[in-house]
């Protein structure tokens, strides 16, 4: 077999982080090549360089033996590289045929195009009605629009960025059949995913990235999922020296929490059950987009569920809104700092008021107690070492790590009984991250129950008493985090729902 695309020493650095460090591998003609890695491993940057969205700092690419350096996506498309994006670039109010025509350089007349869409979509087992509005289509059907837009250009290399993350299992099945047909016709596919079983089933070879570096290229059919998980996560996961947690009273309990997706791209939470005891930290891992945001919303009260699905100290709270939950001691810090956890253009004092009003009594009869709010904000700033000129500064002006410290400090200083945190140290530098983790451990030591949702496995291993993984809206059975091996974690994240099956 000849190489279709050769990557040689590709390096791309952004301020403060090397996204890709000397990455080299080849994609053969007619093969499905997997690109594996955790979040932040540099998969997206690498693919953007191939598609002409990002220019490499150094390194070269060769397409069928000739030099390939697309300055823009249009040039990459002209050379036969097509890409299906993770977040679709479609026009909802236009119909399928119009959407496809907009993505083509020289589209035929509409009637002819509609006929070709019908023909191609039938041939590849992706039925699509060209006259339907994209806004009415399901996520899977929208992806078909993008795939067919690519296929009509006869690509040599099709890049798919996490194509199954928004699909139902049935739609995944259909997609795989299509990809196998394409492969048999000689099209190469670069397939990005975290899902090990999918890759073992579909791909001929796999390149694994970790922290921007290539770890290995292997044949996924010959490797076990366990071995690949180890390569992906790294075998150097920190093993925390934590004593097993002493059994105490249950603070928060979920019974079969099921919540339909709130938006078209949301995840449906399915039968989530767990309990957290006082003084315990439950770590929830999993790949982004498997229900983390939805679970945070359900716990914080932003999304209401059946009253009995969530119980705190034995009382049903599923129908309570965020303020009612704050009143009884359940606080939450969502993932998105600017715009969700904090209002960007409001000062830190105002932001402290927004969640701290109820528990800290920062207002009286509808009037704000400004000095008290200022004192509370100053307290957060001092206790959590938030670097800012003063509490009057806008939240937007703080760096990510400092704002994160402020957001978490604001909740912790309200003395929560249950604290839910999504991505506590995302985008935060190492020193600040260590401070935040220590604060969480201290909070648990004082008897609060914590649910920490994160994609950073090292972090979860360091602070959790028990660990569970979210996968497509389902939660695995929580298991003691102490002594959990890398391969067990990888398999929990990859969708093996019963740990027994692993052992």
């Amino acid at each position: 077999m000849n190489a279709l695309l050769d990557l040689d020493g590709l390096t791309k650095a952004y301020p403060g982080v090397v996204a890709n460090d000397d990455v080299s591998f080849s994609i053969q003609e007619g093969e499905v090549h997997a690109l594996l890695g955790e979040n932040g491993a540099g998969k997206s940057t690498l693919v953007k360089m191939i598609y002409g969205l990002v220019k490499p700092d150094s390194g070269t690419m060769q397409l069928r033996g000739s030099s390939f350096a697309p300055p823009e996506p249009r040039a990459a498309r002209a050379s036969g590289v097509a890409m299906v994006f993770q977040h679709f670039s479609l026009f909802e109010a236009l119909d399928v045929a119009e959407n496809i025509a907009l993505g083509m350089e020289n589209p035929p007349a509409m009637r002819e195009l509609a006929a070709r869409i019908t023909e191609v979509s039938q041939n590849y087992g992706l039925p699509l009605d060209p006259s339907r509005l994209v806004g009415e289509l399901s996520a899977g059907e929208r992806q078909r629009v993008e795939i067919i837009r690519c296929l009509l250009q006869n690509p040599k290399l099709l890049i798919m960025d996490e194509p199954t993350s928004v699909l139902t299992p049935q739609e995944v099945e259909i997609l795989f059949k299509t990809l196998e047909t394409l492969k048999s016709e000689g099209t190469s596919i670069l397939y990005i995913s975290h899902k090990l079983e999918e890759i073992r089933r579909l791909c001929d070879s796999a390149t694994i990235l970790r922290l921007g570096k290539k770890v290995a290229t292997c044949n996924p059919r010959e490797e076990t999922a366990k071995a690949m998980a180890e390569m992906m996560v790294g075998s150097t996961l920190h093993q925390p020296e934590r004593k097993p947690h002493k059994t105490q009273e249950v603070a928060l309990q979920l019974h079969d929490l099921t919540l339909p997706a709130q938006s078209a791209f949301g995840t449906t939470l399915k039968n989530i059950s767990f309990s957290v005891q006082k003084g315990e930290i439950l770590g929830i891992g999993g790949v982004a987009g498997n229900g983390q945001d939805e679970l945070t919303a359900a716990l914080s009260g932003e999304a209401l569920s059946d009253a009995g699905a969530i119980e705190m100290h034995g009382k049903p709270i599923g129908q309570m809104g965020p303020n009612a939950r704050r009143e009884i001691g359940l606080l939450a810090a969502p993932e998105e700092r600017l715009g969700h956890a904090a209002a960007p253009d409001m000062s830190l004092i105002e932001n402290a008021l927004l969640t701290g009003d109820i528990r800290k009594g920062l207002s009286r009869r509808g009037f704000l107690n400004w000095p008290k709010a200022k004192a509370f904000a100053e307290n957060v700033i001092a206790e959590f070492d938030v670097r800012t000129p003063g509490p009057g500064n806008a939240a937007r002006a703080l760096s990510g790590g400092n704002l994160q410290k402020f957001v978490i400090g604001r909740e912790i200083l309200q003395a929560p009984e249950v604290l839910v945190i999504n991505q506590p140290t995302w985008g935060v530098d190492a020193a600040a991250a260590a401070d935040i983790r220590q604060a969480l451990l201290d909070l648990a030591a004082n008897g609060a129950a914590l649910v920490v949702i994160s994609q950073d496995l090292d972090e979860l291993m360091e602070i959790s008493d028990r660990f569970a993984a979210l996968n497509e809206g389902r939660l695995t059975e929580p298991v003691p985090a102490f002594g959990l091996s890398v391969e067990q974690i990888g398999l929990m994240m990859g969708g093996a729902h019963d740990l027994e099956a692993v052992q």
């Binding site: 249009r74 670039s89 109010a93 907009l102």
Partner: protein
């Protein structure tokens, strides 16, 4: 009260005349909004077109040159809005309102020496044979050319939006400017052209008022016609033929209530005067309420500032 003094034939014929300025302005604004730009300066562009057209027609003695000048004047004024909102990223609502105020002021300045003058007459197209048909003849075939031009423009806009590549790109830009940019379309250029088209149409609508409907120049003579055009675009759910219907409905009720006032109907004049606004909006709301998908009708990027940051 004598209702027999109202002739249905004359009523319908004058309805078409009354509706034409609003129709012209509305169909232009429809294109602007379909490209994702909200230009609230229609009133200002209309009245600028009215004085530009009037002045040039008086100076040259030719209404046709007057109309061309009106279109040019409206487009030029809209270009100020275009540069401010597309290149300097100013707020579209505030800039549009400012444009209206600017247009009103500019037109009174320009029109100072034209008050009380009669413009050259625009001839009616007396289409032979057809205009002699009883009833239908005077209603349909005995108008000036701008009435037919406005109707043709509606059809052309519909065809252009739905049947051409340019129309598809225009709609794509208005729906999702980031995706359109990612696919390689020139969002700002498309929007500037749309804004200028809207300005030219508004200018024509204004000149129709000063050269044909009234016909003379008075300060502030558009009297809110631009705002009605804006409302008709929204309530007409951004569809050309529904905009046509809205404009004719408004024109019809306006003419009817004037006739009723003349006939001495025992209803306070204020109620009659407000009736065109109320009825037009009520009818269009009821029509668009029936369709469940009206939320999809508004261009998704309408009024949002586009900046190609990648």
């Amino acid at each position: 009260m004598d209702l027999s003094s109202i002739s249905p034939t004359l009523l319908i014929a004058s309805l078409m005349v009354a509706a034409t300025p609003i129709l012209l302005a509305a169909i232009g604004e429809l294109i602007v909004e379909k490209a994702g730009v909200l230009n609230l300066g229609v009133e200002g562009m209309m009245i600028t077109g009215a004085i530009c057209g009037f002045a040039i027609a008086v100076e040259t003695g030719s209404p046709v040159i007057g109309f061309i000048a009106a279109a040019a004047g409206g487009a030029l004024l809209s270009l100020i809005f275009g540069v401010l909102t597309q290149y300097l990223l100013s707020n579209q609502v505030a800039t549009g309102l400012a444009l209206t105020l600017f247009g009103l002021g500019l037109s009174s300045l320009m029109g100072q020496s034209y008050v009380g003058i009669k413009p050259p007459q625009t001839n009616k197209l007396d289409i032979p044979v057809l205009s002699d048909i009883p009833v239908l003849g005077p209603i349909l075939f005995n108008h000036d050319i701008m009435v037919y031009f406005a109707l043709a423009l509606v059809v052309l806009v519909w065809l252009g939006l739905n049947r051409t590549r340019a129309g598809l790109v225009l709609r794509a830009v208005g729906e999702n400017h980031d995706a359109a940019h990612a696919l390689g379309y020139k969002v700002i250029r498309v929007r500037l052209l749309a804004i200028m088209f809207g300005g030219a149409c508004a200018g024509l609508g204004g000149a129709y008022l000063s050269l044909i409907r009234v016909p003379q120049w008075t300060e502030g003579m558009t009297a809110g016609a631009g705002w009605i055009a804006l409302a008709i675009v929204v309530f007409g759910a951004w569809r050309p033929f529904r905009v046509l219907l809205g404009a004719y409905l408004f024109g019809g009720v306006t003419v009817l209530q004037l006739n009723l006032q003349a006939a001495g109907l025992a209803i306070p004049v204020e109620y009659l005067s407000m009736s065109p606004y109320l009825i037009t909006i009520a009818v269009l709301v009821v029509m668009s309420a029936k369709r469940g998908r009206t939320s999809l009708a508004a261009p998704a990027s309408l009024g949002r500032i586009f900046h190609a940051s990648q």
